[in-house]
């Protein structure tokens, strides 16, 4: 288990795509260190021969027939869009067009 410092908090916030203020970075660094200390006690449990549990359900590979079913209309699916362009969600340019390309 490792120490969490403000550099780690900034790095992880970047991975999580969350803009933090300097004040938030300071506060979260202190608060998360306390939480991670408490969580670190898990190291005391011997789990050498123990398999991990991802779900408590005795189910696997739940499948269904691949039938077409009624679904949302385009309007229903789009109506909460912050910005749209006709039938498309509008976002900022992510691929620049090359001159002549």
């Amino acid at each position: 288990m490792s120490e969490i410092d403000s550099k780690v908090v900034r790095y992880v916030a970047d991975l999580a795509r969350i803009a933090l203020t300097d004040d938030e970075v300071d506060r979260f660094t202190k608060q998360l260190s306390v939480v991670l200390d408490a969580v670190g006690k898990l190291g005391e449990v011997d789990t050498e021969a123990i398999p991990p549990t991802a779900s408590v359900l005795p189910l696997e590979n739940v499948t269904r027939e691949d039938d077409a079913r009624p679904s949302l209309t385009l309007e229903e699916a789009m109506r909460n869009a912050p910005a749209r362009d006709g039938d498309l969600f509008r976002v900022q340019t992510i691929i620049e067009e090359r001159p002549g390309g």
Binding site: L15, R17, V34, V45, I50, A54
Partner: protein
Amino acid sequence: MAELPRTIAEAAALLRAKQASAVELARVAIARAGTDPFNAWLRVSEQHALAQARAADERIARGDAPPLCGIPWACKDIIGTKDVETTAGSRILDGYLPPYSATVVERLDREGAVMIGKTNLDEFAMGSSNENSAFGPVCNPWDASRVPGGSSGGSAVSVATGEVLFALGTDTGGSIRQPAALTGTVGMKPTYGRVSRYGVVAFASSLDQVGPFTTTVEDAATVCQALFGQDPSDATTMPLAAEDLRRDLDTGVRGMRLGVPKEYFIEGIEPGVERAVRDAIRELERQGASIEEVSLPSTDHALGVYYIIQPAEASANLARYDGVRYGLRVEGADLVDTYKRTRGTGFGAEVKRRMILGTYALSTGYYDAYYVKAQKVRTVIKAEFERVFQRVDALLTPTSPTVAFGIGAKVNDPLAMYLNDVFTLPVNIAGLPGISVPCGLSEGLPVGLQVIAGYNAEATMFRVAAAYERATDHHLRRPPYFGTGSVGADLKRSPNAAFGTSETY
């Protein structure tokens, strides 16, 4: 009619006897919800409710009325409702209009139940005090300077004050049972896999379940009867045969073996809470149950397991809030900057904290040390419960180590806040059913007794809880501000006056 009947059972009898109409009940509930002084409601959907009530009255007139037909209820605002704004208590979903309803809502619609509106909650259900809502905290009707618990605080208060006859909440680590305990209501989390989560805003998918708040155990069983069952739209629902969940409500506990896990009576539990819970255990013994001390040795590690798995799953689930398809968008210099500003602005402090924690636990180099380790200890905790349930029919514990605490008392100490759920979150880790029932007062505030049963043994859980409830009147006690008093009217005009100023009362 100024007040609703106390229970679903009483209201259903009045409706069947034509002594009240669903429209009348809905109008009372709408008026009460609309003047609620505790910030329990995010919106009252009056037209929607009256339309449902009129349809319910027609069904009742035809003699085609299921048990919940015409019964007014409240929906935690993390459960999607078609064409009724659903925010999850977050600015990032402010104004979001779901294009479809959650399966649980559709099931209640089919029963003819009447949804009055949407209740306040901790943002994305992350919290134990309802102070993390982007729309302001909820106050406890037993003492408005205190929290109602969380995250389903609004749902708990809507039932505690008699504004509605039942409410839905969600429970990831105690978010139904803990606020039920702190508000003197019955709150129940079903076995993982019994109730569909389709259409419910996802928090931690291996832990979340939907369940009811009610005044009585019988009412909880009635609501569960409508909610339970496999849903083709949720692959985590179990294909179980239909059963009558109410079959053992009157059976009593004579001859049952009830376990008391010694790890649940620890340092830090308030003496008044321990006293009330011990009294409840003695009452069940007096009724003929045999009480055995049992041990769940890894209980101490449940908090650590929970605070890895839950934020890790949440950090993945909440990745969808990127400002592209719905919700808030805050434009930045480029698309990645837009994501960051949108999420930095749209999420509150607790959500951000958990996103950081969860992303950290899943990041390269820490995945095995934290996430996989927590999943392994989860296996150990689950196995300990399974071993104990070979010996006993149900477990009896406190629901929460404390009664309702002051608004603001723990907001800057996340670990102290997380400890509120120390007796409820092991139940989610194992996926078991649990119910909190009122078991008396400590310092004038409600205490909850938690009954935990084995997988899919809800009928057994209801049997124990109903036997206790029948012998006591704790569930019938109402908070001091129950009803339409003038105190409520004053609070409504200036809701913030209620926060942290007990002298008002």
